[in-house]
């Protein structure tokens, strides 16, 4: 247990030491999204009865920040360690592949939740977002950041250079996040796009998370929960398998 806790502590300390870049900067950039979209769209969009567009937008932006930062934490830590070579100190140690996996995932969850909490708290200075079911908020925030952390581990192991990691982020993570209903309800989309949104697992994370705030969502939170758990399990198993086989880590 000490080995696992140490790796977790190291991963937490790693992002905490550069908190301006890893916590404060994403909070500020997410608030910029809120300001811009709110001012542009406030007169045009009302998704739920009696809920202003800004208040609708806030949970989506919080969850987007949670997911993107969870991904960034695991993937950047993994690829930096690989490229600088210091991953060798973990690989030489008796840490098991499960300990390595859970340490990276929990650190990603911690950073995701910290950034998400930061975004939420700052927005509450200007808006009042209701909280209907806190337990759904926590469940989807933890599972969502865990899933993105596992994807970050996979991307960090797979990528041989920063360029490939950026491609993974820009061509997979960001499109799936932006097209998951952060900025809109999918009921406002044409049928084809609605169908495609249903294939996007990120949609269910945002939708379930939003249910915790408004008690209303496009899908039942139980359905979303099942889908998110299934995705988390599949992605985690893949990440664990990569770590166990030593893919791109051990020759």
């Amino acid at each position: 247990m000490t080995g696992f806790l140490t790796l977790l502590y190291k991963e937490l300390l790693r992002f905490w030491k550069v908190g301006f870049q890893t916590i404060l900067a994403p909070v500020v950039s997410t608030l910029l999204y809120l300001l811009i979209f709110f001012h542009v769209l406030k007169a045009h969009v009302e998704v739920y009865q009696g809920v202003s567009y800004a208040v609708f937008l806030i949970p989506g932006l919080v969850m987007m920040a949670v997911m993107q930062n969870a991904f960034a934490n695991a993937s950047s830590s993994m690829i930096q360690s690989k490229i600088s070579g210091n991953i060798v100190f973990v690989l030489l140690s008796p840490l098991t592949y499960r300990e390595i996996f859970f340490a990276y995932i929990l650190a990603s969850v911690a950073r995701g939740l910290l950034v998400g909490a930061g975004v939420y708290l700052v927005t509450e200075l200007f808006f009042e977002t209701p909280i209907y079911w806190p337990v759904w908020i926590w469940i989807f925030a933890i599972l969502g950041s865990g899933l993105l952390g596992a994807l970050g581990v996979i991307a960090g192991i797979w990528a041989d250079k920063f360029d490939q990691l950026a491609a993974f982020q820009n061509f997979i993570i960001i499109p799936l996040t932006f097209l998951s209903g952060v900025f809109y309800s999918i009921h406002s989309l044409p049928p084809v796009w609605q169908f495609l949104s249903h294939l996007n697992p990120f949609f269910y994370m945002i939708d379930g998370f939003r249910y915790g705030f408004f008690g209303a969502s496009d899908f039942s939170p139980y359905v979303s929960l099942c889908i998110v758990i299934a995705c988390f399990t599949a992605v985690s198993l893949l990440a664990i398998r990569m770590l166990r086989s030593g893919y791109k880590l051990r020759h």
Partner: protein, 306 residues
């Protein structure tokens, strides 16, 4: 007591390239062992296979009796490795690095031992300095400290003195020698053959992934070294008579070096120089050393194991 390291019939391929070709090697506990060979001979691949950074395609490797794949946790607890590349984590100080490394091995509070290795490796005034700002030599010392945090009985150093200044090299060897006296098994690779000769009891030489020599240092030099080197400083503006030119192997510091097989040839050489009217200003006879053995072995194809 099990062997410190037992490598049995290990093969390792990278695509079609055979990096380790049926390597058999046993290093006993308490030995100071040298693993030598030219670049690309397979030394680092062998070390990686022992440390679990590479997995052998066939054969088996045990560290202190534990299989490095099926019992990897036990095997890795017995082993400390100083990697060849200068690597570090730029986020942490020296002390944080060592505390984290201790934790990986399950040691929650290692303060006393960390303080001791920090002092013994001359890192005391850098303990709270970020790794990023240390010089190359200091980073190398931290890597040695990282390999020692869990007091492993077997320590492998992969070219630890490459690019390191003389002072650090000597203090590092004093420390490693002391660890060997205290009972640690030391395995070392280096391109400085005089270091290996001075420190190690036994040596294996690798070439193209094969062990081509495995013997005690003394036996290897006495059985494998061929001849002596006679160094002569001749009177200025003179050169060797043509009959002696074929024995010449080189020139160093104004002296010509002649290869001879035995002492009896010295008299004949001196006679030929006298006959040619050439005066000798200085003369020195060099005993064969590990470098001679290394050059002989690398140029021959016959394995020399014992």
């Amino acid at each position: 007591m099990p062997a410190a390291i037992a490598v049995r019939n290990v093969c390792k391929y990278f695509g079609a390239f055979c990096a380790l070709d049926h390597v058999d090697l046993e290093i006993q506990a308490g030995e100071f062992f040298a693993l030598l060979g030219p670049n690309g001979a397979g030394k680092t691949t062998l070390i990686h296979t022992i440390a679990g950074l590479s997995v052998a395609d066939s054969g088996s490797v045990h560290v202190m009796g534990s299989h490095v794949v099926s019992q990897y946790r036990q095997a890795r607890r017995q082993l400390g490795v100083v990697p060849q590349e200068l690597v570090f984590d730029p986020f942490f100080t020296v002390r944080e690095t060592l505390r984290i490394q201790s934790g990986y091995y399950g040691i929650a509070d290692n303060t006393a031992w960390i303080n001791e290795i920090i002092t013994r490796l001359g890192l005391a005034d850098k303990a709270n300095t970020n790794m990023r700002t240390l010089s190359g030599g200091m980073k190398r010392r931290v890597m040695v400290a990282q390999a020692l945090v869990h007091k492993p009985p077997v320590i492998i150093l992969d070219e630890p003195t490459a690019g390191v200044d003389v002072e650090l090299r000597q203090s590092l060897w004093d420390f490693i020698r002391q660890l060997n006296i205290e009972g640690h098994t030391i395995v070392l690779t280096t391109h400085y053959l005089e270091e290996a000769e001075a420190l190690c009891n036994r040596v294996a030489m690798l070439k193209h992934g094969k062990v081509i020599a495995l013997n005690s240092m003394q036996n290897l030099i006495s059985t494998m070294a061929v001849g002596y080197t006679l160094c002569l400083k001749l009177q200025p503006d003179t050169s060797l008579p043509p009959a002696l030119q074929e024995k010449k192997t080189g020139c160093r510091n104004g002296c010509v070096e002649l290869k001879i097989d035995n002492y009896t040839q010295i008299e004949s050489i001196l006679a030929q120089l006298r006959q040619a009217g050439i005066q000798i200003q200085e003369m020195q006879l060099l005993q064969p050393d590990l470098e001679d053995v290394f050059v002989n072995l690398m140029n021959s194809s016959l394995p020399q194991t014992q």
